[in-house]
Amino acid sequence: MAKIRGAVVVDVERCKGCVICVNACPTNVLNMSKEVNGKGYSYSFMENPEACTGCMSCSMVCPDVVITVYRMKVG
C-alpha cells in the first residue's frame, strides 16, 4: 500500500519558538530544541520524523512562515 511520507524544514534563524506548530501537529512530529538560535529562541525541529505525513498543519499556523513542507508517496 502506498504510504505518504513528509518532512519539514524549519528556517532556524527566523523561528521565534512560539510552540504553536508543535501544538498543531496531529502526529507529534515536532518538538522544541534544547539549543537556541542567534536570537536566543528555542526552535522547532522534527523529533519524530518517521511520523510526518506532510499535512501542512504546522505551516498553516506558523506565524513567521518559517516552515517549508515536503511530501511524497512511498511504495
Binding site: 519558538g17 504553536i20 506532510g54 498553516m60 511530501r71 511524497m72
Partner: protein, 253 residues
C-alpha cells in the same frame, strides 16, 4: 528505506513561503496572529494573479510596518484613517484591488467614523480588521473591543462595565450598512480556521473584481504579550473567552 534527504527535494515541495512576503523577519511577537494574516492575504493575491493591481493601506499599530513585509504597493495612513485613504486610492484607480489592514485600536477606536462612512459609501475596497481586544503596540492598554472583566494595563482589575461600558462589536455594526456586501468573522489559530479565513479573503477580493462594495473581514487574533500568556495558552484563552463574544462565521453575504 526512504531517508529525509529523499523527501526534501524540490519536486516534493508542497508548501513554502510566498514570494509576496519579503525576506524581512516580522516585527511581531512570537505566536502573534498578524503573521498568518499577512501570509494568507499575500497568498490569495499571488494565486489570483493580481500582484500588479493590488494596493494595500497599512494602519497605525503593531502592523504599521506591514508595508515592509508585504511585497505589493502599500501606503501608510494616519491613525484610523486607512479607509479614507483607501477611498481616495480606489477612486483614482478604480481598477485596482485596494485593501486596508487595521487593528482594533485603529479601526474600532480612532477610526470608527472613517470605517463606518467608507462602508456606508460602498467603496470598492476590502477591510481587514484584526481584533485582539487590546492595544498591543503601546503596551496592552484597554481597547474598545476589550472584553468585560479582561485585565489590561489600564484596567488592571478587569474591564468594569459600570465605568468602561461594553465592548464594541464593530463587525455586526457595519453589517447593518447597505454599502457592505460581505461581512465575516474568522480566526487564524488552527489549520482549519486558517483555511476558512483564506477562502473568505479570496471571496473578498473577488467582490472587488465584481465591484460589489465593501468586504469586511474581521480576524479574531491573540495578543499573547498583551494578555500576558504563552502563545498556545493565549489561543486557548481566545477560544474560551473571545469566541463567545465574537462568534466566528459569515454575518452577511
Amino acid at each position: 528505506m526512504v531517508t529525509i534527504e529523499d523527501i526534501i527535494k524540490e519536486e516534493n515541495k508542497v508548501f513554502s513561503k510566498t514570494k509576496l512576503l519579503t525576506d524581512k523577519t516580522f516585527s511581531y511577537c512570537p505566536g502573534c496572529g498578524h503573521g498568518v494574516a499577512h501570509r494568507i492575504i499575500m497568498e490569495v493575491v499571488e494565486e489570483m494573479g493580481i500582484v500588479e493591481q493590488t494596493i494595500g493601506v497599512a494602519p497605525v499599530g503593531c502592523s504599521v510596518l506591514a508595508y515592509d513585509f508585504m511585497d505589493v504597493d502599500m501606503q501608510q495612513a494616519a491613525h484610523g484613517r486607512a479607509p479614507a485613504v483607501a477611498t481616495g486610492i480606489s477612486r483614482v484607480f478604480p481598477d485596482k484591488y485596494v485593501f486596508t489592514y487595521q487593528g482594533d485600536g485603529d479601526l474600532a477606536a480612532i477610526g470608527t467614523a472613517e470605517t463606518i462612512h467608507a462602508c456606508s459609501r460602498a467603496e470598492n475596497i476590502v477591510i481587514f480588521f484584526i481584533n485582539n481586544g487590546i492595544y498591543g503596540m503601546t503596551g496592552g492598554q484597554m481597547a474598545p473591543t476589550t472584553l468585560i472583566g479582561m485585565k489590561t494595563s489600564t484596567s488592571p482589575h478587569g474591564r468594569d462595565l459600570y465605568n468602561m461600558g461594553f465592548p464594541i462589536k464593530i463587525t455586526e455594526m457595519v453589517a447593518q450598512l447597505d454599502g457592505v456586501q460581505y461581512v465575516t468573522r474568522q480566526a487564524v489559530h488552527t489549520p482549519a480556521a486558517v483555511r476558512k479565513t483564506k477562502k473568505a479573503v479570496k471571496k473578498a477580493f473577488e467582490n472587488v473584481k465584481n465591484r460589489k462594495g465593501v468586504s469586511f473581514i474581521e480576524i479574531v487574533s491573540n495578543c499573547n504579550s498583551g494578555w500576558k500568556m504563552t502563545p498556545v495558552k493565549s489561543n486557548e484563552w481566545m477560544e474560551e473567552n473571545m469566541f463567545p463574544v465574537y462568534p466566528l462565521g459569515d454575518i452577511k453575504g
